[in-house]
Symmetry: C2
Subunit: 216 residues, 2 copies
DNA sequence: ACGACATGGATAGTGCCACTGTCGATAGTT
DNA sequence: AACTATCGACAGTGGCACTATCCATGTCGT
């Protein structure tokens, strides 16, 4: 197929497709002649993947490049693909590294949850940065809620993984699933959180009741 | 205090502070003379708030302006402040509106959870957009996991609200808490999700595992 | 009191990013 | 043969978040 057809089927302009090929987000098409090329189904898929990461996930082009490189390399195991996707997310590369107290609080939380994770997990720095910001705003009570958030996060992660493993036999398909799931999952959970927030706010008696009730 | 002191205490350059005042993110300082002004503690607080929204939350300046306007207006009730904050989040303003099937799926989910929400809740469109993207990638099995995600989201929302209501007597403070909590909460949950993902991936005995390598 | 230095306010400029437009040579289409 | 589409290279655009420059006016140390 030629570029205009690919453009139609993917909803992306020919100019942008050329741009993506230049940037290494999309593999070059097979040459069928001196000056002609042919795009295939894999380009349609890849384009959908790229648009999902850019439009929905908000990833910058440079991160997308790193992600697709990992997806395309059969040497890279699935778990590492997930790590690459996690690092690619716009997870606030700290202008200043998180403070020691916040890092410690995060490690405490991780230990309390019985979690075992690598030291370079981007979530660690990200959570610590949030805690730093919170205390900079003059608040401290976030720490009380952390275990609740952690339990919810674990439930989310279990669901994430359950959606991935069924495909695990097909490495390429799984790699895409992991990447899309990692990126879209954040947006999905954030959206559901907004809905749930409104529901809870409506159905909570606003009598300043310190509803310290345990979320199930 | 003068601008240079405010700059030091907030970690923001004088040039940026001037910019924020021009953009309406920061109220003008009180004039103490023909050509001199005096910044107060409220400017320090506001600057921390703005930086939190911009740096951690990734909000564009225009959205921050809308948010602080709602925070500053005593007429605006807390629930509406939360709505403004939700709308301000970079929640993927759809290039194309979500498809009918996805919207229906979201409404089904909401009904199944027993949630009652406003039709314009930004989470509805956001979740529908994620579903659209998912099916565009050729997958359908996300729908099975939705109730799990929804339950986790509700747990998160309950914790969110529990952190806010204790302050509800002080409307201004609560407004800030709501805004910061709404924005930082997304980042917090996303970070915890990354940690939990690694933990779950490590501790799940998955027969299809090709590697027990950890994410880099 | 006086001079070096900082401040406030206005305006123009910078750097980055994600595209988008233009061009000339060539290929397919009728 | 006429006409449109395509390829590839490269320059240009528009949006955004600052940042630099000016200069008339203040403030501070001695």
């Amino acid at each position: 197929m030629r570029i205009s057809e690919l453009a139609e089927r993917s909803g992306t302009s020919p100019a942008t497709i050329k741009f993506y090929v230049r940037e290494g987000l999309l593999p070059p098409a097979a040459k069928t002649g001196y000056n002609q090329v042919s795009y295939g189904e894999e380009h349609v898929r890849r384009l959908h993947l790229v648009r999902a990461l850019v439009d929905v996930g908000g990833l910058p082009i440079s991160r997308v490049r790193a992600v697709v490189a990992a997806v395309d390399d059969p040497q890279v195991p699935l778990t590492e693909v997930m790590g690459v996707a996690q690092h690619a997310l716009p997870g606030r590369e700290a202008s200043s590294p998180p403070s020691d107290p916040s890092r410690a609080a995060v490690l405490d939380l991780v230990a309390a949850q019985g979690w075992a994770v690598h030291d370079g997990n981007p979530g660690l720095a990200q959570v610590a940065a949030v805690l730093d910001t919170w205390v900079a705003m003059g608040r401290k009570d976030l720490f009380d809620g952390l275990p609740h958030y952690a339990r919810a996060a674990e439930a989310v992660a279990r669901t994430d993984l359950a959606l991935v493993w069924p495909d695990a036999a097909d490495r390429d398909r799984s790699a895409e699933t992991v990447v899309v799931g990692t990126v879209l999952g954040d947006v999905l959970v954030a959206g559901l959180r907004r809905i749930a927030q409104e529901h809870v706010a409506r159905t909570t008696s606003h009598s300043h009741s310190h509803s310290t009730e345990e979320p199930s």
